[in-house]
Point group: C2
């Protein structure tokens, strides 16, 4: 069928294409290593390449997770130290004067926040916000400019320290996911070239697929570091951020998360000995609401009294968590509904505010952004300091020596019952306990068991309203900002409110308000972010209590359902707002009524002939912005044949290097010359941290323009094709499942050369199978005993082939 | 391009094809509901269908998990009662005579095992073994006859009770996975028709995809029920059994698992009050090796003394698990290596034995199978009773009133330090503690903390060798048999051996042998089954100790790597042995050097014309065993066009019903008649529990044979096509990722009608995106503002569209 010279050209094409790193069939396993079919039949190069790849992966895995883990530790140590120092200083000053303390408090916060917003606006604008929508977009195929730069990483780390330490209503968990992705991507391309931090032997991740895998691992590492939740990290990567999941990825992601968790744990163990200043047991959110806070046993101040909680007399706090009655399911469902409503409202409000900011406020320049954030910082400080002042102190509860709970405590250190602006000694300020505190400690206090009636409904309600408003206003400012911790704060506040109501109403002793607070936190996150499995596992891992799993699931189910009735999840809304159009996993409904041809529209396809004048390439590339062009050739019988697809980026590299220019318009293989490979693979790699080359950057002399290029070696010889009248839903599935970038729409075939079925793809000698009755799922078996010509030289292929590194 | 009458024919084809339930594009979302493009533009039917589907899913989810959960509870209650009763009886008899006790013990075991093997051989042969390889094959596309029948379900349940209760060296966890899948599938098709247990309103899961999803949920439910590990169940389904994963499945699977966990928990709570005889806290394997066995707090016998374990003086057992030194990592790595070696050896030995059984022993009929199992039962009884007799008893350790550990205990009840054939009162038999006991209790004893030096190395070694041999021999007999529990037994034995060595060698107090036993269990399972993430999570969930996660991962990593050096995982080996050729997720290496055309081989493609004589269909179907046939038609210009693919099963239904036979050889739409739809959808459904129809079953009169059928309404109008010279790796990915059954190989296209890119598939008005710099991952952005003609009437599509039920 194919004429000889075409066949030759295509062989060359396959050989060369297999070596191009930026080929466009995203998840296609063969393309990184390639469809190598040299004429002499050797495949050594391909093997080598794979070996290098595996080797590199191993190396990388040993390094990157530690990077993420250490970044997480660095941020936590810094935040805890800044915050701890801030609170101790403020607290020591307010012993003398509340006014001076107030001023110091506001100024410290302002300084920290200003440092953050200054770094972001001047140095790393892409580091603002949580970064999760952008990473999600990246893994879906949309590269927002700058999100994986080295400067973004630095900006994110130091910006997070400033914004979280400065007491704004935001968290450090989203940024940690972004940081993990940045570290992974930078290590993947061998460090940042611009800042001379590159290392040659790391530069082995050439293809988009490898980089995408790395970024996925990085996201999981970020979650694992933020919450010390390795399994939650894996599921977060799987459920929320990735668009294409390969089974080989599972173990890699899991391995990365585990290493991160170990690194974080090791660092924390080291810090427990007092090496890290204020950073001790706090900082990393692990709330143990079972009352058994043995995590804290080495804390020199509070440790000694903690284990007493698990005396037999206190057993109710153990089984109290588990032993819920069916009556309690109703208030829990109510929590779910509240979470769905407040979460959806949060998404909607932040969407409006962010849109307004983008369209009006932030257009006025960086100065406005800085002023805005500083203003918010001052407001936050005033509210968190001022509101507790207006709150009357409550007397400490009957002290139970065995409960290990002290009253009162100083603010800013671990513990409930914060004494703030109280007249007498044995009093505490319940609003200050949650408001005038680091967020992690506030959450720990909200989650705490055995502290029934610690908070008054009025305080909780005040806090809920104020903090919700602050969180909405803070979202979208030019600082790194995560939504996990604010969400948990909001959720646990109303959860505890419901819990208080339940305690009063049901008059049952073993109901813990802390459990309700936890469920509230889950419900708000579910209502806002709409994650399910991963959120559930993260909540379980951070509370270290597997028994609450069914309750958390129930609440999440309800809140997600309620939230979905109003709008999309936070990340999807924000991604759309930022112009990151995510390709969803399911085709849209109206695609059912369309064909592939209709989707292409009326736009004319621009063909390239196999051998083309350089001037023509330049003019075509200038005249449109297509990314791929079909290449056609004529067989000897004069028939036109599509020999493949050439990508714009590859054409640009060819034009820039000029190495393949030739004087003759004849294909090189027709001129009797074997095609020399003049390009190294790395030339075709688009670095992650640059914008790539554009046609305007390339300057060609008029002599160059008169020359020709034989495109055959550079085309993708077999892009995926669909017949013109295929349902667009099917096209969508093909596109989405394989992670493609281009699908060619071709006319309906006039004949069928063959059919490939399951049997044709099973290349093994199944000697035993002949004895068994074998039946494909829906149709009767075919006892065809035809063997594929090539026998399997290596039958040892485990199902998860690439898992072991 | 297409002539008018062809176009018409294809419209009809699309309409009808969309209604065929057994269409062959497995995971294709549009096909169940269809590419509905009626000429009048209405799509009411399609909507209705979807509504029904959603409704049905909701109903089913409320019922099936409970089924699986209840089955699990039933099995556990039965097993625990039989075993408990057996051991109490034996124990009461041996107070008088060891010989009589021995005889009773052997006979009870024999009776239980005989009942099991009798049920299996006579009633449900497909219920033998673990069932996981078969389920895995089913989800990969291979339907082993009978695995999802109702009788298999019943056989599996009662067979498991007999074989596990009878003390064989096998577990009930694998069978529970199979049971979950059976229940799911049966509920999916609306109960078993044969046994009049069907219910009409359940029969809504028509397509293969729905049934596959259900079976996946069932597997997860099985694991969740077996281990009370809902997250482990989800990951098991994801990592081990499914071949195609849809994001919508995630939440459904998770939901199912959680419901099962709740059902099991509820049932256990009810049983704790003594309603279930011997079944109390045992049975479900939850081993809490932290020393904090508060799960057992309500156990009337042992409960009272348990909470004392968490007195401050015993804190070392808490942090002792977590506070491992780096020196300990070496023995842990050794455990991983041992696990890999023993696991691979186990796979190899069972493979040999199973092959021998299949080829020689089991060919001789059911009688041989029964005798074989009974023989094994007697041997097992003799060894487990006899060996401890030869073992000298050890004196009880210094009794620590606060440790809550009693010595000695009676065998067969929960507790360490079993007194068996000991002369004095204060003695125990360490071999009987693990051997002469139910497996769950034995594992609990092996895992137990605070019992250093309970077991002697000699006993453990004896047990390891004997039990390993028994497990190998028992595997593959005609009883339901899981490998989890035997694997855990074997692994924890050598793990504890290593632990003993470490305790002696390092002389460190806070090393727990129980922790090493746990790691050993993980390593053996990893070395045998080669699961990673799911196994890790299951181990964590059953031990309820998140802190061991990094250690378990380390051990699993090593053991899987070591095992992979020798052979494939247990399930893959067994699947291949049983003739279930699994399509792996990665293409084989040699596919890189092949094209699609080469894979098709030289076999001639058999075309069907659009209108074909019935006699021709019959002769073609008789002459070969193909499952799909391309259908061609001629346009008015005489050009041949492939109009689609017709499936053998649909042809058989057409031949059987005869409703579409016509006298004229002209296509029906040419004769001016609109095509009436004479078939209901359900006719095309292949029931899961029958073999389907065969061409030999269809009897046609000679008049019938002379008639014609217009195939156009019944073809799949747009099967996926690949060009002839596409790399087989790419074809494999297409096939595997989309879960296809047929791919048509067509000639290289002569022209391109259009290109579909990301932008063409994003059907939404992104008003905000214009303001942002947008850049696809590897190439520069195209600011094409062309809109797809159809506007989106409903922009509220969350990313995980179908999650909320």
């Amino acid at each position: 069928m194919l004429s000889n010279h075409l066949q030759n050209g295509m062989e060359t094409a396959k050989l060369m294409w297999s070596r191009l790193p930026n080929n466009e069939d995203g998840d296609d396993d063969d393309d990184g290593v390639g469809f190598l079919k040299k004429n002499d039949g050797s495949s050594v190069e391909s093997l080598d390449y794979e070996v290098i790849e595996n080797y590199a992966y191993r190396e990388e895995q040993a390094i990157k997770p530690e990077g993420t883990g250490l970044a997480a530790v660095l941020i936590n140590i810094s935040v805890e130290n800044f915050a701890g120092w801030k609170y101790s200083l403020t607290f020591s000053i307010i012993q003398k004067s509340y006014v001076a303390g107030f001023i110091v408090y506001v100024l410290i916060n302002l300084a920290l926040v200003f440092s953050s917003v200054y770094i972001i606006t001047q140095f790393a604008p892409a580091a603002a916000g949580s970064g999760i929508p952008e990473i999600k977009g990246y893994l879906n195929g949309i590269d927002t400019h700058g999100i994986l730069f080295f400067r973004t990483l630095i900006g994110k780390i130091f910006g997070s320290i400033g914004s979280v330490g400065g007491g704004l209503a935001l968290g450090k968990e989203g940024p940690l996911v972004h940081i993990g992705a940045c570290i992974a991507s930078l290590l993947g391309q061998g460090g940042s070239r611009k800042y001379h931090l590159s290392s040659r032997w790391l530069q082995v991740f050439k293809s988009d697929r490898d980089r995408r895998d790395l970024v996925t691992c990085g996201c999981a590492a970020g979650v694992a570091a933020a919450f010390r939740a390795p399994v939650g990290g894996v599921l977060f990567a799987l459920e929320e951020v990735t668009s294409w999941w390969r089974s080989q990825l599972m173990w890699r992601v899991f391995f990365t998360s585990a290493i991160v968790a170990v690194v974080v744990r090791t660092a924390m163990g080291w810090c427990k000995n007092g090496n890290c200043g204020h950073f001790g047991s706090g900082g990393f959110i692990i709330w143990d609401i079972s009352g058994l806070e043995y995590e804290l046993s080495l804390n020199p101040v509070y440790g000694s009294s903690f284990f007493i909680v698990c005396w037999p007399s206190n057993q109710s706090s153990f089984s109290g968590q588990e032993d819920y009655s069916f009556r309690e399911l109703f208030p829990m469902a109510v929590i779910g509904v509240i979470g769905g409503l407040l979460g959806a409202l949060f998404n909607q409000l932040t969407l409006f505010i962010t849109r307004w900011r983008r369209n009006y406020l932030h257009r006025k320049g960086n100065r406005v952004k800085i002023i805005e954030v500083c203003l918010i910082s001052v407001i936050t400080s005033v509210i968190s300091f001022g509101l507790p002042l207006f709150r009357n102190c409550s007397p400490c509860p009957e002290s139970d020596a065995s409960s290990g709970i002290e009253c009162p405590n100083a603010p800013g250190v671990y513990g409930n019952y914060v004494n703030f602006y109280c007249g007498r000694d044995k009093e505490y300020n319940d609003l200050a306990t949650i408001f005038f505190n680091t967020q992690d400690d506030a959450i720990r206090n909200l989650f705490s068991a055995k502290t029934i009636h610690e908070f008054s409904a009025k305080s909780l309600l005040t806090f809920l309203v104020m903090f919700y408003t602050l969180a909405v206003v803070t979202f979208g400012t030019a600082v790194p900002a995560g939504q996990f911790v604010p969400g948990i704060m909001i959720g646990s506040t109303y959860g505890r409110l419901v819990g208080m109501f339940v305690v009063n109403f049901y008059q049952k002793l073993n109901i813990e308000e802390g459990t309700y607070a936890l469920l509230g936190a889950a419900s708000f996150l579910g209502g806002s972010m709409r994650m399910t499995v991963s959120l559930c596992v993260i909540m379980v891992e951070i509370t270290n209590n597997l028994k609450l799993l069914p309750l958390i699931m129930l609440v999440l189910l309800i809140s997600k359902a309620v939230g979905d009735a109003f709008n999309e999840g936070l990340y999807e809304e924000q991604a759309r707002l930022r112009g990151i159009p995510l390709l969803e996993s399911r085709p849209k409904y109206q695609m059912r009524k369309m064909t592939a041809k209709e989707a292409c529209g009326t736009q004319k396809v621009i063909y390239f002939p196999r051998t083309i004048k350089v001037a023509d390439i330049v003019s075509i590339l200038r005249s449109n912005s297509h990314n791929g062009f079909p290449v056609i050739d004529h067989s000897r019988s004069g028939e036109t044949l599509v020999i493949g697809l050439v990508l714009r980026i590859h054409l640009l590299v060819l034009l820039q290097s000029k190495a393949d220019f030739q004087h003759s318009p004849l294909p090189s293989d027709l001129r009797g010359r074997s095609l020399p490979i003049r390009h190294s693979l790395s030339e075709f790699v688009k670095p992650a941290s640059s914008k790539g080359i554009s046609i305007e950057d390339i300057h060609l002399s008029s002599d160059d323009l008169e020359m020709y290029i034989d495109l055959a070696p550079f085309v993708n010889p077999s892009p995926y094709v669909v017949p013109e009248d295929m349902s667009l839903t099917k096209v969508y599935n093909l596109f989405r499942q394989l992670g493609l970038r281009h699908v060619l729409v071709v006319p309906r075939a006039s004949r069928v050369i063959g059919m490939i079925t399951r049997k044709d793809l099973l290349m093994e000698d199944n000697e035993d199978s002949a004895t068994v009755e074998l039946q494909p799922t829906s149709v009767r078996a075919r006892y065809r005993d035809r063997r594929v010509p090539t026998r399997n030289p290596d039958p040892q292929h485990p199902l998860l082939d690439g898992l072991v590194v």
